[in-house]
């Protein structure tokens, strides 16, 4: 591991100024991703700015419902929060389905959203990877790509974003509060992560040095009937092979409103707007749910080893929505 300096900033302004002044500086949250990648030589910061001492560690109810989640709130504390458990089961479930008890005690909200892909070639500095070293090629495109993207990828990169939390938050229309060198800004989570395009090394729309300070979840009363379904290669402690975040609001049999997002299918958490549109205003049936998933997946371009993800996502869409529909019927 490369040697690095370490600093604990007194406040948000100092943290942002430190990053702004040093192109080799990086923020340190729980370290569960960054320290791992530093050991592998994939990330080589010269200065770590530890943000875990900043006063960004509370979950506050919003004035009109909703939540404001501090950037350094640990994943375990967020999952255990009474308002999250009662009002946003999709959020609690996504958190609890991720990593392990020990890691959730360490991982922060912001670090989770900004964790890097688990693409094995990205993690191996001996392999070609445009994300790690732009212009070297993508070893995954024609390599082992079972875990990787089916939607929104480019010839330059077929990686997926590994976070479960981000999938739940994008379904809930969360907004990320950011402090940039130029001042504060709100970024809808749906616009935080980029598609890889020609620049897979640029993963987010944030400028260098931007500090995430909080994530706001707007009020969504029907999110009390929401869930997260994650498929993985073993029953626990594994990244998703495919996942769905869903919330459903029925008026009798008719879909009044719905939220759907997919995980482990793209370079970003994938909000299924097209599927939502197809569901709204129609009487809910399992067939309709399948049609909606098909409409969303019409754009899918599976790689050599991950064609199975298309029916997988379709099936868990149906399972999640019929489960939610069943739980609200008399």
């Amino acid at each position: 591991m490369r040697a690095f300096r370490y600093h604990r900033p007194a406040d948000v302004a100092e943290a942002v100024a430190l990053l702004d002044a040093d192109p080799e500086a990086a923020y340190l949250g729980g370290g569960t991703n960054l320290v791992d990648l530093m050991k592998l030589g994939v990330q080589r910061p010269g200065l770590l700015v530890d943000v875990t001492g900043l006063p960004l560690d509370t979950v506050e109810p919003g004035p009109d419902g909703g939540l404001r989640i501090g950037a350094t709130v640990r994943n375990s504390d967020l999952a255990a929060h009474p308002l999250v458990r009662r009002d946003y089961p999709v959020l609690a479930r996504a958190l609890l389905d991720a990593a392990s008890g020990q890691l959730r005690n360490m991982a922060t909200t912001a670090g989770n959203l900004l964790q890097r892909t688990r693409c094995a070639y990205f993690q191996d500095t001996a392999k070609a990877c445009n994300k790690r070293e732009p212009g070297t090629g993508c070893a995954a495109l024609h390599g082992q790509n079972r875990e990787l993207a089916i939607l929104g990828w480019s010839e330059r990169c077929v990686a997926t974003h590994p976070s479960d939390l981000a999938v739940a938050l994008v379904a809930l229309d969360a907004v990320v509060e950011v402090r940039e060198p130029g001042g504060p800004r709100d970024v809808p989570l749906a616009e935080l992560h980029r598609t890889p395009g020609d620049h897979p090394e640029r993963e987010t729309t944030l400028p260098r040095g931007a500090l995430i300070t909080a994530v706001r979840v707007p009020p969504l009363p029907f999110a009390r009937r929401s869930t997260y379904l994650k498929v993985r290669d073993r029953a626990a402690f594994a990244f998703a092979v495919g996942s769905v975040a869903a919330a459903l609001d029925l008026d009798g049999d008719v879909v009044r409103d719905v939220r759907l997002a997919y995980g482990a299918v793209a370079h970003q958490p994938w909000r299924a707007y097209r599927a939502e549109e197809l569901l709204r205003g129609r009487p809910f049936t399992a067939e309709l749910a399948a049609q909606a998933a098909d409409a969303e997946l019409a754009a899918a371009r599976p790689l050599r080893h991950n064609g199975f993800k298309v029916p997988l996502i379709r099936n868990i869409t149906v399972r999640a929505l019929t489960g939610l529909a069943g739980s609200v019927r008399p």
Binding site: M1, R2, A3, F4, R5, Y6, E24, L28, G30, G31, T32, V35, D36, K39, R44, G46, L48, D50, T52, S76, A79, A80, P82, R85, R86, P89, A92, R93, L96, D97, A99, S100, G101, Q102, L103, N105, M106, A235, A236, F237
Partner: protein, 182 residues
Amino acid sequence: MRGGRESGKPADDQWSSRLALTVNGVGHDLTLDNRTTLLDALRERLGLTGSKKGCDHGQCGSCTVLLDGRRVKSCLVLAVTLDGREVITVEGLAGRRLYPLQAAFVAHDAFQCGYCTPGQICSARGMLDEVSRDWPSAVTADLTAPVELTDAEVRERMSGNLCRCAAYPNIVTAIRAAASSR
């Protein structure tokens, strides 16, 4: 970003830090290279070799310790972040008698080689505290109800601790036995 210092102790001491760390109730004043993980500090500097290095990447749980009472994987914690904090390792659990979880692991034969055991026991202690606060898990059906510690709950909550000897069935039994005598 190539060309940084790769190994050895850099001359400039901005690459290392001084920190006060309490381990098993004993205060230590340490100067450590910033790269030192908590696991390496415990094993290589403090001679506490109970915590084990299995993977060094957060994947196996054999390095689990309690940090300010909460279970964490010490291989992914940089020691430099811990000034003023308190760590408990497997060496700090027993008093004059074995800690109940340790006694239960012995009584129920919950290991073969024993390599994963310190991590299992520290993790179980942190896990039982989480249960006593009614934190739900991925297998908890009702997120807002009190937690009942079934076999399925123990398995899910301990899934961050791998055992190459596959002593899992007896680990579950030992943890439930210790929990019910709490």
